[in-house]
C-alpha cells in the first residue's frame, strides 16, 4: 500500500475543495480527503483501480509462492516437501488464485482506471457500485484464502473442481466449501463490475466518441465485461449446486442417486471457456494500445481488431466442450466442438497479424512496454498454436491431463495475459503515479522473466508428450522426467528474480524520482494517441477539465499531428498546447460512502455461517441489510451541489465553465 498511497494523495484536489459535506442518512457522509479513510470510502474509479492493482499484486505473490512450492516438490523424483494431500491443495489454490485473484482483478484495475479516461468521462456510471465490486472482491479473495487457516486446509479438487471429487466423500475438509462460497463472492464482484463498466461504455462516452472511435483497449474491455455478464451466472448455478450438495445434502452430484457428474463439467466450462478470453482479452487491448504508440503508426486494421475481439467473444461461448473430449461426449459433439475450436483460432490469428502489421515498417522504440508487448505477441503465438493442437480431438485425448496442457495454458496466461499486464504497468505508470519506471531495470525485468518463463514452461511440452500427468505429486527416477523437471524448477526461480526486479524497480524509481525533486513526466510522456494522455499526470481527481469533443479515432493524436502533402505525420501543435491543465475548479464529483464497504463485509460472514454455524450468518445478514438500506437512502451525491438526480452527468461539463472552453478547442482540432 505504501507505494501507492503517497502519490495520488498529492492530487490537485481543486475539484472537491468547495463541496460542503452535510451528514445525511444513518452514517455521516465520510468527509476525509486524505489518509486511509479516504481510501476505504472512496468511489473514485482511479483510487479503486489502484486498490485493485495492489491487492492483485499481493495475491500474485501468494500464488507465486504456491507455484514455487509445486516446483520445489517436483524438483526431485519422490519429492517429499509436500504430502500428496497438501500438494493437491497447493496446486488448486495456485490455479484459483492466479485466475480469480490475480489476472482478473489486475485487468479490472486497468479497466477501472482507464475506461472512463479513454472515453472522456469523469467517472464510471455507478461509482458506489464500483467501490462495492472492489470490496466484495477483496473480501471474497481473503475468504477463499482463509480456508488454509480455518477450513482444515485449502480446497483440494483442482481449480475446476470436478464432481464427484468435490463431494464430501472425497474432499472431507471445508476447503471445497471455501472454494464454492469464496468464488461465489468473487463472482458477485465481477458481475457488479461488468454491469457498471458496460453501462459506462455504452452511456457515458464524450460527445463525438462513437463506438468505432473508441480505443481498442476499451473495446476489448467491453467484450470482456459482456463475457463476464453472461458467463458468471452459469458458474453461479454450478457453485450453488455444489454448496447445496455439500452443506444441505442435495443430490446434484451424488452419483449413487443417479446424478450426472458431467453436469458440473458442462456448467463449469460454459463459464470456464469464456473465462479464458476474459483473462486474455484485456491484455490484447493493452498491447493494442502500446504497439501503435511505440511503432509510431496507427493500429493496423482497427475494424478487424475490434470485430475479431467481438467474434472471439461470441465464439468463446461455443467451444466449451473441447475441455471435455476425454469424457466420452460422443463423436458428433466432439466433431462439432473440434471445428468450432479451430475456427476460434481465426480471429485470434487476425489479431496477431494486425499487431505485426502495425509494427511492420514502423520506427519501433524498444522500451520496456514495447518489449513486453512484443513478448506477448511471440509467447501467445506459441500458446495459441499448442492450443490448436488441442482442437484435434485424437491428439487432445492423448494430451488430456498431461503437462502438455499445463504448458499450453501457461503460455497463454503467463506469456499472454501477464506479460500484457506488465506492459500496461510500465506504460501507464506515469499516468497513474506521476513518475516513470526505470527503463533499464524494466528491460532487465523483461528479459529475466522471458528466460525464466520459457525455462519453466517450455520443458512442460516435452514432459507432457512423454506422458507426465499433471496433478500427481511426484514421479519416479525411472520415469525419465527428472531432467526437464529440474530445468522447470530452475526457471521458476528466474521468474521470481524477475518479479523481485519489478518490485525493486517500483521502489527504486520512486526514490530516484523523489531525490530528483519529483519531476513531472508531463501529460504525454510516450507521445501517445488516446484521451488519457491529454490530461495531466497523475490524473487529476476530476479527470477532465473540459469534457473533450471527439472528431476522429485517435483524436488526441490528430490534435498533435497533421499530414504533409506526402501523407507523413508532422507536428502541428505541442502537447502542452493541446493537453488539459487539470486546474478546473468546482467540478462536481460523486461523494464518498461507507456503505459499499459495510455491505461487502456482510458477505464473508454469511459464508462462515453457511459453512460452520447458521447463527454466525445472522450478523452477516444484518450487516448486509444495513448496508443495502443505508445505501438506498443515501443519495449518490450530496444534495445542493447539483440539480440532476443522476449524480454525475459527465456529459457536457455544461454547467461548468467547460462549455465555453470547449468550442475553441474543437476548432483547433485537425480532422482527417
Amino acid at each position: 500500500m505504501a507505494l501507492v498511497e503517497r502519490e495520488p494523495l498529492a492530487l490537485p484536489a481543486g475539484a472537491s475543495a468547495g463541496t460542503a459535506i452535510e451528514p445525511l442518512g444513518v452514517l455521516a457522509r465520510p468527509a476525509t480527503k486524505t489518509g486511509w479513510r479516504a481510501w476505504v470510502t472512496t468511489v473514485d474509479h482511479k483510487k479503486i483501480g489502484i486498490m485493485y492493482g495492489v491487492v492483485a499484486m499481493f495475491f500474485f505473490l501468494v500464488g507465486g509462492l504456491e507455484a514455487t512450492l509445486i516446483r520445489l516438490q517436483l524438483a526431485q523424483p519422490n519429492g517429499s516437501i509436500l504430502s500428496a494431500d497438501v500438494y493437491n491443495q497447493v496446486y488448486t489454490m495456485h490455479g484459483v488464485t492466479m485466475v480469480f485473484l490475480v489476472i482478473m482483478p489486475m485487468a479490472a484495475a486497468f479497466a477501472n482506471y482507464l475506461l472512463p479516461l479513454q472515453i472522456g468521462a469523469r467517472d464510471v456510471a455507478f461509482p458506489r457500485l464500483n467501490a462495492l465490486s472492489f470490496w466484495v472482491f477483496l473480501f471474497g479473495g481473503l475468504f477463499l484464502n482463509r480456508s488454509w487457516f480455518v477450513g482444515g486446509g485449502g480446497p483440494d479438487c483442482g481449480w475446476f473442481c470436478y464432481a464427484p471429487n468435490s463431494g464430501v466423500t472425497f474432499s472431507p475438509t471445508h476447503g471445497v466449501d471455501f472454494y464454492s462460497i469464496g468464488l461465489q463472492i468473487a463472482g458477485v464482484a465481477s458481475l457488479i463490475g461488468s454491469v457498471n463498466l458496460i453501462v459506462t461504455v455504452l452511456n457515458m462516452r464524450a460527445p463525438g466518441m462513437t463506438l468505432f472511435r473508441m480505443p481498442v483497449f476499451t473495446w476489448m474491455q467491453l467484450v470482456v465485461q459482456m463475457l463476464l455478464l453472461f458467463s458468471l451466472p452459469v458458474i453461479t448455478v454450478a457453485l450453488f449446486l455444489l454448496s447445496f450438495d455439500r452443506n444441505f445434502g442435495s443430490n446434484f452430484f451424488n452419483v449413487a442417486q443417479g446424478a450426472d457428474p458431467l453436469l458440473w463439467q458442462h456448467l463449469f466450462w460454459i463459464f470456464g471457456h469464456p473465462e479464458v478470453y476474459i483473462l486474455i482479452l484485456p491484455s490484447f487491448g493493452i498491447v493494442s494500445e502500446i504497439i501503435p504508440v511505440m511503432a509510431r503508426k496507427p493500429i493496423y486494421g482497427y475494424p478487424f481488431m475490434v470485430f475479431s475481439g467481438i467474434a472471439i467473444g461470441f465464439m468463446g461461448f461455443g467451444v466449451w466442450a473441447h475441455h471435455m473430449f476425454a469424457s466420452g461426449l460422443g463423436p458428433m459433439s466432439v466433431a462439432a466442438f473440434s471445428l468450432s475450436t479451430m475456427f476460434i483460432a481465426v480471429p485470434t490469428g487476425v489479431k496477431i497479424l494486425n499487431w505485426m502489421a502495425t509494427m511492420w515498417g514502423g520506427k519501433i522504440l524498444y522500451n520496456t512496454p514495447m518489449l513486453f508487448s512484443a513478448g506477448l505477441v511471440a509467447m501467445f503465438t506459441i500458446g495459441g498454436l499448442s492450443g490448436v493442437t488441442h482442437a484435434i480431438a485424437p491428439a487432445d485425448t492423448q494430451q488430456t491431463d498431461t503437462y502438455y496442457i499445463v504448458a499450453h495454458f501457461h503460455y497463454v496466461l503467463f506469456g499472454g495475459a501477464l506479460l500484457g499486464l506488465f506492459a500496461g504497468f510500465y506504460f501507464w505508470w506515469p499516468k497513474i503515479f506521476g513518475l516513470m519506471l526505470n527503463d533499464k531495470l524494466g528491460k532487465w525485468h523483461f528479459w529475466v522473466t522471458l528466460v525464466g518463463f520459457n525455462l519453466t514452461f517450455g520443458p512442460m511440452h516435452i514432459l507432457g508428450l512423454q506422458g507426465m500427468s499433471r496433478r500427481i505429486q511426484t514421479y519416479q527416477s525411472t520415469d525419465g522426467f527428472t531432467f526437464w523437471n529440474q530445468v522447470a524448477t530452475l526457471g521458476v526461480f528466474i521468474i521470481g528474480a524477475g518479479l523481485i526486479l519489478f518490485l525493486y524497480n517500483c521502489v527504486h524509481s520512486y526514490r530516484t524520482w523523489k531525490a530528483a525533486g519529483r519531476p513531472n513526466p508531463g501529460p504525454d510522456p510516450w507521445d501517445a494517441r488516446s484521451l488519457e494522455w491529454s490530461i495531466p499526470s497523475p490524473t487529476p481527481e476530476h479527470n477532465f477539465d473540459v469534457v473533450p469533443e471527439i472528431h476522429a479515432q485517435d483524436d488526441f493524436w490528430h490534435r498533435k499531428y497533421g499530414e504533409d502533402e506526402r501523407g507523413r505525420a508532422v507536428r502541428i501543435a505541442t502537447t502542452e498546447s493541446v493537453a488539459q491543465k487539470g486546474d478546473a475548479k468546482g467540478v462536481h464529483l460523486p461523494s464518498p460512502s461507507f456503505y459499499p464497504l459495510i455491505l461487502a463485509a456482510g458477505l464473508p460472514i454469511i459464508g462462515y455461517g453457511v459453512i460452520f454455524n447458521r447463527l454466525i450468518a445472522i450478523p452477516g445478514v444484518l450487516l448486509f441489510l444495513f448496508g443495502i438500506y443505508g445505501w438506498a437512502f443515501e443519495p449518490a451525491t450530496e444534495p445542493g451541489d447539483h440539480e440532476g438526480d443522476h449524480g454525475h452527468d459527465d456529459h457536457g461539463g455544461d454547467d461548468h465553465d467547460g462549455a465555453a472552453l470547449a468550442t475553441p478547442a474543437t476548432e483547433e482540432a485537425p480532422v482527417g
Binding site: V199, G249, D260, H646
Partner: protein
C-alpha cells in the same frame, strides 16, 4: 479517406449537440440500462437451473434401480396443476397491477400508486404463500430436498424463483413505505419503472418454469 473522416466527424458533431444536456449516449438512463443488463445475466442463471432440472427430470427413471419407477411416482404426480395454475394466474396479474402502479406514479396520482403497489405486493405474497403450501404438501408426502435428484432440482429451481419473488416484494414494500412518507413522486417514477422491470422479469421466468416443470410431461 480524409473526406470520410470529415463526414464521420460531422455526424459525431451533430450527435454531440443532440447529446447536450443530461441525455446518455443510448438515450436510456444508466440505471435502466444497468437493470436490463442484470436481467440479461439473470436469464443465464435461470437457464442453468432449468437445464439442470430438465436433465434430472429425464434422467431419474433411466438410473439402475429406478427403471420401473416413473418420474411421476417420484414427484410429478404430486403436482396439483389446478392449484398451481391459479397461483400462476395470481402472479401474472401482479404484473398488471405493477404497470398500473407505474402509470399512476407517472401521472403523480399518489393514492392510486400506493393502492396498486400494495396490490402487487399482496398478489406476489399470495403466490409465495401458495409455494410454501405446495412445498409443505410435498414434504408431508415424503418428497424432501434431499430425497432424490428430481426433488433437489425441483426445489432448487422453484426455490430460486421464490427467492426472487421475495426480493421483489421487499423492494415493493420499501417503495410503498417511501410513498407513505411522500418521497415517491413522479420525479422518481423511473425508479419504480426499473423495479417493475425486475418484477415483470420474475413473472416471465415463472411462465417458463410453470411450462417446463408442471405442464411438460
Amino acid at each position: 479517406m480524409a473526406e470520410t473522416m470529415t463526414a464521420a466527424a460531422d455526424t459525431g458533431h451533430h450527435e454531440a449537440h443532440d447529446d447536450h444536456g443530461h441525455v446518455t449516449n443510448t438515450g436510456i438512463s444508466n440505471e435502466k440500462l444497468g437493470m436490463w443488463l442484470f436481467l440479461g445475466s439473470e436469464c443465464l442463471l435461470f437457464g442453468g437451473l432449468i437445464s439442470t432440472f430438465l436433465l434430472y427430470k429425464k434422467k431419474l427413471n433411466t438410473f439402475p434401480g429406478f427403471e420401473n419407477t416413473t418420474v411421476n411416482k417420484l414427484g410429478a404426480d404430486l403436482f396439483d396443476i389446478p392449484f398451481t395454475s391459479v397461483s400462476s394466474f395470481v402472479l401474472l396479474m401482479s404484473s398488471l397491477t405493477m404497470v398500473l402502479a407505474v402509470s399512476s406514479l407517472q401521472r403523480d396520482d399518489q393514492r392510486r400508486t400506493r393502492l396498486w403497489l400494495m396490490a402487487t405486493a399482496l398478489l406476489g405474497s399470495t403466490f409465495l404463500a401458495g409455494q410454501v403450501y405446495e412445498f409443505t404438501a410435498f414434504l408431508n408426502e415424503g418428497l424432501g430436498f434431499t430425497t432424490n435428484i428430481f426433488s433437489s432440482a425441483f426445489f432448487t429451481l422453484t426455490g430460486f424463483h421464490g427467492a426472487h419473488v421475495l426480493i421483489g416484494i421487499v423492494i415493493l414494500m420499501t417503495m410503498y413505505a417511501q410513498a407513505l412518507r411522500g418521497r415517491l413522486t413522479s420525479r422518481n417514477a423511473e425508479a419504480l419503472e426499473i423495479a417493475g422491470l425486475y418484477w415483470h422479469f420474475v413473472d416471465v421466468v415463472w411462465v417458463v418454469i410453470f411450462v417446463v416443470v408442471y405442464l411438460i410431461k
